[in-house]
Structures are given as structure tokens and as C-alpha cells.
């Protein structure tokens, strides 16, 4: 099991992402947190946080209780104040995140007892980064475990997450299965070449949604509009179909954009991060093959993939050199303590 000991000082942020609802993300978080506690033996602080709310207590698909986050004495948590009302006396305040930098009040607390908790954290990049700065001041040498969401693209930014754990649902439902395949495919994408990185270095900014270069590195277009609605970008891409071009996207490779770019075999698409390749094959593209090469600007460092198999009827191709586990299966002894 690859839950390595912490190397060096500072905050190591591990983010947890599920391929879908009920993919077992909270279970994976609980599991990794427990293992980390055992392995680290109290050398570093461990703090649990979330992007948005983690705490729906009912699984609406299967209509059963969902696992809660269990947190143990000595660990830290970040959550909104409303979830602390029943925990009076069981925690110690370490920091309060308030205005003007935060849209609501969050608390960094230390557990004095073991308890279960609902976690809620900021939902935007600026607040998360600010929160990390504040945590760094209080807990300079720590692990920050973030219950993340694939819908929040900023989670893939290197300033937000250092490494990832993925919970993947292998379902009998076609859409869910395809989402899992898409996620695993995006994790296997290569990082773009250094030449392309150098070309893009001045363009990788929040506001730039698309940049198109010609083969010789000449700038053909850059846009701040979401690419699927950027008609000018689309026209230029189609006009350049015979030229070798590089298209950088800082926005989701959407269904329509995917269909439009699919026949452009001379194109190289560079996605800012893996979250931008989502829900692509869920749609029916009449078996159209996507001819451009795809790569990532920011690499995705995956610590492990955890499968939750509703069925053994389907197999998924998992990226090479990334450990894959099924926590729920008794037979897989390699994940035992």
C-alpha cells in the first residue's frame, strides 16, 4: 500500500476525487487517513478538510446511510461553524477563518475526543489558497487531506493539491461506467513536451481560456471566452486543419468542442489539467474517433486508485504504474495492515 511517510517540511495536500456519486470517496478518505495516522505515528499533524460540503448522510441511489468522516483525537479538521454545535468541549480551536477573505466562517480545530463530523470548506480557489496559507502558519508541518470534487477544476492546480487519490465506481449503469473510463483515461494522459511548456509559459493564466499556436510557435489566436462558445476560436481551428497546430485549453473539453475538433488530425490539444477531460464519451459521438493528440499541462500525481465494484462483469483499463485497490474486497490481501 503506497501511503508513504512525509518527506520534508510544509503542507502536503492530498486530494480525494470520486468518478461519480457513491464511488466510495469518503470511505477512501477515512481509510487513507487511518493508515496515515498509523504510519506517520504523530510526527506530522493531519488535518481533514473539504471543498464544499462532505456530509450527505443518505445514499439516494441505494437509499442507505453513507459513511461519515470519522476523526480521531489529536487530528485537526476544517469545517463551517454550524457543524460544531453538537461537539462542544470535544475540540480545541486552533484558528478561525473569517472575513474579508472568506465568504463564511470556518474553523480549524483540534480533536480532543474521537468523533464523526461533517466537513465543509470553501468552494473557490482564492479561499482555498488563503486557507492553506493560514493552516501553514498554524500547522507548519502537516498533511492536509481534502475531500474534493472533480467539478471544481481548481483542485488540479499544483498550488492547491500535491497528490491525488481517486475513488472509481465500476457500475452496471452505462453512464457511471463511462465516467469511470473517462476519469481513468484522463489520468493516463501524458504531460506535454518541454517545448510546448516553454511556448505556453506566458499564457497559462486564469483568464486565458484558449491559445492556438502554429507549428513554428507563432500565435494564431488567444481567447478569454469559454472555448465551446468561442466561435472565432472554432473557425480558426477549422481553417487550420491542414496545418500542425497546438491548442491549449483552460476550460472543459466539452461535447461540442470534442465533436468539432475530432477530425483535426494535425492538432495537438493541451489541457490545463485532467479535470478538463470529463464526460466526453458519455455522449454518443456515432463512434467518431478523436484524431488530435491530447496531453496535459499540469501533471496529475496519483497516489492510488480505489475501485468500488458493483459488478465484475466489466473491466477497466487503469493507467500504468499507478497502484489500484479494491478496499471492499476481502480477497485483496495487499491492502491489509
Amino acid at each position: 500500500m503506497t501511503i508513504d511517510e512525509k518527506k520534508g517540511n510544509g503542507i502536503t495536500t492530498l486530494s480525494f476525487i470520486g468518478s461519480d456519486k457513491n464511488a466510495g470517496k469518503t470511505t477512501v478518505l477515512n481509510f487513507v487517513y487511518r493508515r496515515l495516522k498509523e504510519i506517520d505515528k504523530g510526527k506530522s499533524h493531519i488535518c481533514l478538510g473539504s471543498i464544499g460540503i462532505n456530509g450527505e448522510d443518505i445514499d439516494f441511489y441505494e437509499n442507505r446511510q453513507k459513511p461519515m468522516i470519522s476523526i480521531y483525537k489529536g487530528s485537526y479538521f476544517i469545517t463551517a461553524t454550524e457543524y460544531l454545535r453538537d461537539l462542544t468541549g470535544k475540540y480545541r480551536m486552533a484558528h478561525s477563518f473569517t472575513g474579508p477573505h472568506f465568504s463564511k466562517v470556518y474553523v480549524l480545530g483540534e480533536c480532543l475526543f474521537d468523533f464523526q463530523i461533517i466537513l465543509e470548506g470553501p468552494n473557490n480557489k482564492e479561499e482555498i489558497l488563503r486557507m492553506k496559507r493560514d493552516v501553514q502558519a498554524v500547522l507548519p508541518d502537516s498533511y492536509l487531506l481534502i475531500d474534493g470534487s472533480i467539478d471544481r477544476q481548481f483542485i488540479a492546480h499544483p498550488a492547491v493539491s500535491d497528490e491525488f487519490y481517486f475513488a472509481v465506481l465500476v457500475s452496471t449503469r452505462k453512464e457511471q461506467l463511462q465516467k469511470a473510463r473517462d476519469l481513468l483515461f484522463s489520468l493516463s494522459l501524458q504531460v506535454c513536451t518541454q517545448k510546448h511548456k516553454d511556448l505556453l509559459k506566458d499564457w497559462v493564466k486564469e483568464e486565458n481560456k484558449s491559445v492556438l499556436f502554429g507549428e513554428g510557435g507563432e500565435l494564431l489566436y488567444h481567447g478569454k471566452e469559454i472555448p465551446f462558445a468561442d466561435k472565432k476560436l472554432q473557425d480558426i481551428c477549422l481553417n487550420c486543419k491542414k496545418k500542425k497546430c497546438i491548442l491549449y485549453l483552460n476550460s472543459a473539453l466539452s461535447k461540442s468542442l470534442y465533436a468539432l475538433l475530432a477530425p483535426l488530425k494535425n492538432l495537438t490539444v493541451i489541457l490545463n489539467n485532467f479535470t478538463l477531460y470529463q464526460n466526453i464519451s458519455v455522449y454518443d459521438f456515432q463512434n467518431r474517433i478523436f484524431l488530435p493528440k491530447i496531453s496535459l499541462f499540469h501533471p496529475v500525481k496519483v497516489r492510488g486508485i480505489f475501485l468500488k465494484q458493483e459488478t465484475t462483469q466489466y473491466t477497466l483499463t487503469t493507467p500504468k504504474n499507478i497502484p489500484v485497490y479494491n478496499l471492499f474486497r476481502e480477497e485483496l490481501h495487499e491492502i491489509r495492515i
Partner: protein
């Protein structure tokens, strides 16, 4: 501290052009207590009181009794409590509120001690002392955790013991399961075991496990023994008792804190006000700003006043404004491109800053308080409102101009024909020369120079002579313009009218059609 102006106080285009946002960003200090403040124009009384407080504090700074950096550095430790006050008022403070409240009162008391060194007659807030005392009795480690009574400690120990008991019984239970079935029932569960697994018969025979078929697998879950269930129930019961004690404790703390609420609220608001004043003084010090001095007679005297956006653009070539306006009508006369409109905008910028209570970009400003400031700049009219530029200018004068108002108009009645415009200018200037206001306009009409009881100014101009029939270089002209005002005394009115050829020289520097340029040259030759 993010400062903003109330909407519609400054016309949008002027707000942007004069870069008020950049000016306000000077005050962006990281002070949690004052996250954002919307500035509204102040009336005379409130405004004079506001600047008097600033002047008094400034005096202490000058006498080295008060150091704004130290005070602000301590103020930055005070948490923002706006979200806590409603809970305090309703006696429903929670543990996390006590932390913020405790932090505020203790840091505020330290700040008050610092202030006492400069103001020996001031004293520590009684409410903060009382609140700190109560919180210290009920919390520990810098208000971060609750302090437990003997009974609470005993219960806590019992919970710990029962947790150990549960752990030990669960471990024993899991060991037995492992021995009987070979299954490691560790997190997460239920476990999935394939139907054809060798261990299935043993699992089905084990009374400590439940088996539920699901598709092509079996879900194996705990079937806890009465002994384990009993230990868990005991732990839950103790936890419930502890929770009840904590609720009672919070109720008691709220009861003891509540009598100090009103006084604390006042103290908190006062602290916010004081912090705002200190922040203004700190920025004043960092940016070398000044505070206005108010006088009873109407008028204003600006010494080296600056328009920050223009200064940033022109750098060392920027020339600050010196201006002395009396009550009644003041007219700024002068050639094109000499900076008349900039004078008006610089004055408007300073007057707006004063109304909003901000320190000023000038060496000194003495004036009567600008309770009302109205400005009219050249416009191209507005189709939406069905008004021509002339209509808009006329409409400007329908506004209610209260006594002591500052009225600034750019190119007075340049919006209509020169004959009518000059006549209307004379009428308006005669009207305002008799009113208790400061009316200040720019104008090109020579007719206004002969009016009585009007203060006349002109922009100092650059002297140049035509050399060999060619006009001087435009860059030279722009660089040489002094951007300074001078009063036109009655005996110099004739000189003021001598500059009528300069616009022709200037026009020659623009890419006009050659036929037009030729006509201009002919005109210049006389």
C-alpha cells in the same frame, strides 16, 4: 480594509478617469476588523468632527506619543466579530464564538494599554476586563478549549475508559472472526466476498457475521455480540451525559456574559471607528498626504495639490496645482492644451476626497467644508435622455445649489453658438458672483474678462516664436507648458487676449489634410 464610494457619488466616467480605485487601493490594509467600508459623503458638522479627530491624533503622532504602525500592527490581531454579536445578544454563544470573543477582548486590552501611553486620562474598558475574567474562568489555552470541572473531567475519563473497553472488545471480536473464518473485518465494511470463495461456508456458519447476497457477491457485515453492543451503549450513554454537561456549561457562560453585552457592543463599534482613524493616519504617513484645515469664510486654497493618476503617468514632469479661490465666481481663462480641465479635475478630486473623509494628496488645503460639490464637464449630449450637450449644460444649472456649494464647470457654454454662449456665460457668472458659493469655470470667451466682481485666472502659457515660418515642435510645446495658474489683474487683461494664434500653431501638428494646413499657414502669415 477595502474602501468603496457609495454608488453614484462620482459620475462613472470621472471615477474611472481620475482612477479613484487606485487611490482607494492605498488604504487596502489587512485589518480583519475592518474588512470593507463604504464611504458616504459627510455633512459639514460630521465632516469637521471627523477631521478634528484625525488632527488630534496627528498631533499625538507629531509629538511621538502615538505610533500608527505599532497601533495598526496590534489592531490587525483583533478578530472581526460582526458575526458573533447576534449570538452574544441572544445568549447563544458557542465554543468557537468564545475563542473569537476572548481573542478580541484580550488583544483590545493590550491596544488600550498602548493608547494609554499617549492619552494617560483614558482607561481600560471595564466590559473587556469583565468578559476576559469570565472567559478565563471557563476556557483555557488562550480561550481555545473549554476548562472542565471535576465532574466533567471524571466523565471524560470514563468516556476514555469506555472507548478502550470498546476497542478491546471489538479487537477480540475481530480476532475470533478471523480465527473462525479467516476474514479480516477491518474498515471499510460491509466486506464483499465472491460467492465462490473458499471461505463462504465458514462465513455462513459464523454467528458473529451477517451475510447478504448482492448481485454476484456476498456482503459480509458485523453481527455484534451482546458484550460489544453493551460496551458501545455504555460509551454512547456517557457521551450523551457529557454533551448535556457541555450544554449546561454554555448556558451558564452565556448567562454570565450577557449583562456586559450592550457595553461591549459600544466598545466594539468604537474600536472599529478608532482603527479606521489609525489606518487613515498610517496611509497619510506612508503616502505623504495631508489633512484639510477648515475655515469659516467661503473659498479654498490648495498648495501643491496632486492628481495621483496623472502624477503616476507624468512622473517627475508632473506639476502640482496651487490655487486660491474666493467665494463667488472664478474664471479660468486660457489657451488650448494648457491644462485648464486638469485643474478642474484636480480640484474635484480633492473636494471629493474631503467629503469622503480621506487624507489628501497635497501639501496643504485650507477651505470651507465642501458639503455640496457639483461638476459639469464637456459632453456630447445624451440621445437616451433626448438632451443635446447644450441642453445638458442648461439642465445642470437647474440643480439645487445650496449655500457654500462648490460648482465646477468646464468650458462654460461652449456648447452653443459663440454669441449666445458668451451672453449666457456673462449671465451665469453675474448670478454666481453674488451668491454664497464657490463657482469655478473655464472659458474661452473674451467677453467674460470685462465682468465686475469676478476673480480671473489664466493658465501660464509657453512663449514661442515662429522660426522661418515653421511652428515649434509639438513635443517641445507640450513639455514646455508650465501647467501653472496665475491671476489676471485688470491691467493685464489686454495680454490675456493676445494668445489667439496658438491654437492655429497647435493644429498644424496634427495629420490634417494638406489643404487645411495650407490655409492655416496663410492665416498665420497674416
Amino acid at each position: 480594509m477595502k474602501l468603496e464610494f457609495e454608488q453614484k457619488i462620482v459620475p462613472d466616467s470621472l471615477y474611472e478617469e481620475l482612477c479613484f480605485d487606485d487611490f482607494l487601493s492605498w488604504f487596502d490594509l489587512d485589518i480583519p476588523l475592518l474588512p470593507r467600508k463604504i464611504l458616504r459623503p459627510m455633512g459639514r458638522e460630521k465632516g469637521e468632527e471627523h477631521f478634528k479627530i484625525l488632527q488630534d491624533l496627528q498631533r499625538q503622532v507629531d509629538e511621538k506619543k502615538l505610533r500608527p504602525e505599532k497601533i495598526i500592527s496590534q489592531s490587525q490581531k483583533l478578530p472581526f466579530l460582526d458575526f458573533v454579536l447576534p449570538f452574544y445578544e441572544n445568549r447563544s454563544l458557542e465554543q468557537y464564538h468564545l475563542y473569537s470573543l476572548g481573542k478580541f477582548v484580550s488583544e483590545n486590552l493590550l491596544l488600550e494599554e498602548m493608547e494609554m501611553k499617549s492619552l494617560p486620562e483614558s482607561e481600560l474598558s471595564t466590559c473587556c476586563l469583565k468578559i476576559r475574567e469570565i472567559l478565563q474562568a471557563y476556557t483555557q489555552k488562550g480561550f481555545s478549549g473549554l476548562r472542565f470541572t471535576t465532574e466533567e473531567k471524571r466523565l471524560r475519563e470514563e468516556i476514555k475508559k469506555s472507548e478502550k473497553e470498546v476497542d478491546s472488545k471489538v479487537s477480540k471480536y475481530e480476532r475470533e472472526i478471523y480465527e473462525q473464518t479467516g476474514l479480516n473485518m477491518i474498515y471499510p465494511y460491509p466486506k464483499e466476498v465472491s460467492r465462490d470463495s473458499d471461505s463462504v461456508p465458514k462465513i455462513l456458519n459464523c454467528e458473529m457475521l451477517s451475510v447478504k447476497p448482492k448481485r454476484d457477491i456476498n456482503l459480509i457485515d458485523y453481527q455484534l455480540t451482546p458484550s460489544v453492543k453493551g460496551a458501545i451503549a455504555k460509551k454512547n450513554s456517557l457521551t450523551r451525559d457529557f454533551n448535556q454537561l457541555m450544554k449546561n456549561k454554555l448556558r451558564k457562560i452565556n448567562r454570565e456574559l450577557h449583562p456586559h453585552y450592550m457595553e461591549f457592543k459600544r466598545c466594539y463599534e468604537e474600536r472599529k471607528d478608532k482603527t479606521f482613524y489609525y489606518a487613515l493616519l498610517l496611509v497619510k504617513q506612508h503616502q505623504s498626504l495631508c489633512l484639510p484645515t477648515f475655515q469659516v469664510p467661503l473659498g479654498c486654497r490648495l498648495k501643491n495639490a496632486v492628481l495621483p493618476s496623472l502624477q503616476a503617468q507624468k512622473k517627475e514632469k508632473y506639476i502640482p496645482l496651487n490655487l486660491d479661490l474666493d467665494h463667488g465666481a472664478n474664471v479660468l481663462f486660457g489657451a488650448n492644451m494648457t491644462g485648464k480641465t486638469t485643474v478642474l479635475k484636480t480640484l474635484y478630486f480633492q473636494l471629493t476626497a474631503i467629503r469622503m473623509g480621506l487624507p489628501l494628496c497635497a501639501e496643504s488645503i485650507v477651505l470651507h467644508f465642501p458639503e455640496q460639490v457639483e461638476v459639469h464637464l464637456k459632453s456630447a449630449g445624451n440621445i437616451k435622455w433626448n438632451l443635446s450637450s447644450f441642453g445638458q449644460e442648461i439642465e445642470f444649472f437647474t440643480m439645487n445649489m445650496s449655500p457654500a456649494a462648490y460648482i465646477l464647470v468646464d468650458e462654460l457654454f461652449q456648447s452653443t453658438d459663440p454669441i449666445g454662449g458668451a451672453e449666457l456665460s456673462k449671465i451665469i457668472l453675474q448670478e454666481f458672483s453674488a451668491r454664497d458659493v464657490v463657482f469655478f469655470c473655464t472659458s474661452h470667451y473674451p467677453e467674460v474678462l470685462n465682468l465686475q466682481r469676478i476673480q480671473l485666472f489664466r493658465m501660464k502659457d509657453v512663449d514661442f516664436e515662429e522660426k522661418n515660418g515653421a511652428a515649434p515642435d509639438l513635443a517641445y510645446l507640450i513639455d514646455s507648458i508650465p501647467y501653472e495658474l496665475e491671476k489676471i489683474l485688470p491691467e493685464n487683461i489686454g495680454d490675456a487676449l493676445q494668445e489667439s494664434k496658438k491654437p492655429l500653431y497647435i493644429a498644424l501638428h496634427f495629420p490634417l489634410p494638406e489643404s487645411i494646413k495650407e490655409r492655416i499657414r496663410e492665416k498665420l502669415k497674416g
